[in-house]
């Protein structure tokens, strides 16, 4: 039982991280039909911005701010202006392929210009363990879980309670109507990208202490986020959160109780089952054949 609890907490912790990354992924899809295959690398990169700052003597919180700022500028603004905007008109796939190339670019750039080795990354939380229900849980994963959940909660509130948040949702659901209603759709889409940049920077700061900062961190995380977003329904932020948490838990429990050799297949198995029986994800809404 204690083992189960430990696995559950670990699963929720990983799941919260997946949720953070999946939310941004969903936002980019909803607002501009962008499938960002580089999302995993987007999470990998900010940690290196922060490390670079820390190497120059910056304290943790300053480095964090630098990381977020650079992330907003590069992974948010530059990404949108240079890659997404020129290609949007031409459909989903060319842009998706371009993000694949981007993913390779970011990975190789870090590997070549920074280091191919894993670098340790500091965490504001103590490195000791806490006893929860008779189980040892690391402060770091707990801190990660709490931070991620807080971020997601604020995001949800922001999207549903603020005017800008509601405008973003409207623009995502029906950009044409939103435009007719006079909403600044272009700017709202930019906000979505900036939001993603902030979320991935946060995720980066949370994941790097545990897994160490390495150029290859993006691979599994990106795929997991993608699956979490789809399982959740790909058309609601709430769904991405549910999908992420569920995926983290199922993955951890599955690896322990079912098979470790096929661990990587579990998220995908969940995905296939979900889309076969609930084609619009767990939380998504149904659509029809239309004319």
């Amino acid at each position: 039982m204690a083992n189960f609890v430990a696995l559950l907490i670990a699963g929720l912790s990983t799941g919260a991280l997946y949720a953070l990354v999946a939310v941004g992924f969903t936002l980019m899809w909803q607002t501009s039909q962008t499938i960002n295959f580089a999302q995993g690398e987007f999470v990998m990169l900010p940690a290196f911005f922060m490390l670079a700052a820390m190497n120059r003597g910056a304290p943790y919180w300053l480095a964090l701010a630098v990381g977020v700022a650079l992330s907003l500028a590069i992974l948010g603004l530059a990404f949108k202006r240079l890659l997404v905007d020129p290609m949007l008109r031409h459909g989903v796939l060319p842009l998706a392929i371009a993000t694949m190339a981007l993913s390779s670019f970011l990975k190789e750039s870090v590997k070549t210009f920074y280091s191919a080795e894993a670098s340790p990354f500091p965490s504001p939380a103590p490195s000791s363990d806490l006893k929860v229900l008779g189980v040892a849980v690391s402060w770091q994963s707990l801190a990660g879980l709490i931070a991620a959940l807080l971020a997601v909660t604020f995001l949800q509130l922001g999207l549903s309670r603020t005017r800008i948040g509601r405008q973003m949702q409207a623009a995502a659901q029906n950009p044409t109507v939103a435009q007719i209603l006079g909403l600044p759709v272009e700017r709202l889409i930019l906000y979505a990208f900036l939001l993603n940049a902030a979320l991935v920077a946060l995720a980066s700061a949370l994941v790097s202490p545990i897994y160490l900062a390495k150029f290859s961190n993006g691979e599994t995380l990106g795929q997991a986020a993608f699956i979490a977003a789809i399982v959740g329904g790909f058309n609601q932020v709430r769904g991405a959160v549910v999908g992420g948490l569920l995926l983290g838990v199922v993955e951890n429990l599955g690896a322990a109780y079912i098979s470790d050799a096929y661990r990587d297949a579990i998220p995908l198995f969940v995905l296939v089952v979900v889309i076969l029986f609930r084609p619009n994800g767990l939380v998504g809404r149904a659509e029809e054949r239309t004319v």
């Binding site: 029809e288 054949r289 239309t290 004319v291």
Partner: protein, 246 residues
């Protein structure tokens, strides 16, 4: 037995009822017009009959056989075809190729379509039909290069290519200039006379409807308002009110 029977058809989108409890029957060889103000549910009705949408309630029968919610391609192969409100020819294919496409799934089988002749044996029939619609000289032209009116004619021709028993046309005259309109009407009537096809036509152009159709069905706000001969319907005060408002 009626070729097409619609009973109690309804379609709701969330809280909005686009079509409510519509029932009518179309006899073989008839030309039925469907009119009504914008938003009265005409296209939604077509979509429910033809399988693009699943009705919320009601039944559709073709030649006595229940076809409610049937897949559009299966329904087409039973002998029902349609045109859409928005022009939908295949712009990259030639006019002849468009027609061959429209007919090829109705003859032979998968194997003959793979190993057999490229035009599925329909080249001649396609040229004939093109000539019938006055497009004979344009057989090899890319459909995207034709004028709007010519594309509308091609669209109609595509619906007829497979020799269907029932054809539903959604605003075939929409956006067509007057001289082309004369051709279109004349060709539809000629086709109807020759092949005894049953036609159901949604139209806004009153002259077109009144002169072509034997009976007219009027929809307003998703419900049947009136059904009868054109002159009757035209004089019906409820119909006049629906169009002119209160």
């Amino acid at each position: 037995m009626a070729v097409l029977e619609v009973s109690g058809l309804s379609k709701r989108f969330g809280g909005v009822a686009a079509v409510s409890d519509v029932s009518f029957a179309v006899q073989e060889g008839e030309i039925l017009g469907v009119i009504g103000p914008n938003g009265s549910g005409k296209t939604t009705l077509f979509n429910c009959i033809l399988g693009q949408l699943r009705p919320s309630a009601g039944e559709v029968r073709f030649d006595g056989r229940v076809t409610t919610g049937m897949n559009p391609s299966a329904l087409n192969r039973l002998g029902v075809s349609r045109t859409f409100q928005l022009l939908q020819v295949f712009p990259r294919l030639s006019a002849r190729e468009n027609l061959i496409l429209a007919g090829q799934e109705h003859r032979g089988g998968m194997v003959s379509r793979l190993a057999g002749p490229r035009d599925a044996g329909l080249g001649g029939a396609a040229d004939e039909l093109l000539a019938f619609f006055g497009l004979g000289s344009l057989a090899g032209t890319r459909a995207g290069s034709l004028s709007y009116g010519q594309q509308k004619l091609l669209d109609a021709a595509m619906a007829f290519m497979s020799g269907p028993r029932l054809v539903l046309l959604d605003e075939p005259a929409g956006g067509v200039n007057p001289s082309m309109l004369v051709t279109l009407k004349e060709r539809l009537q000629a086709y109807h006379a020759e092949r005894r096809a049953t036609l159901v036509i949604i139209e806004h152009n009153m002259d077109f409807v009144m002169s072509m159709c034997g009976r007219v069905l009027v929809l307003a706000e998703g419900r049947t308002l009136a059904v009868g001969a054109p002159a009757e319907v035209r004089a019906n005060p409820k119909v006049i009110e629906a169009y002119l408002g209160r």
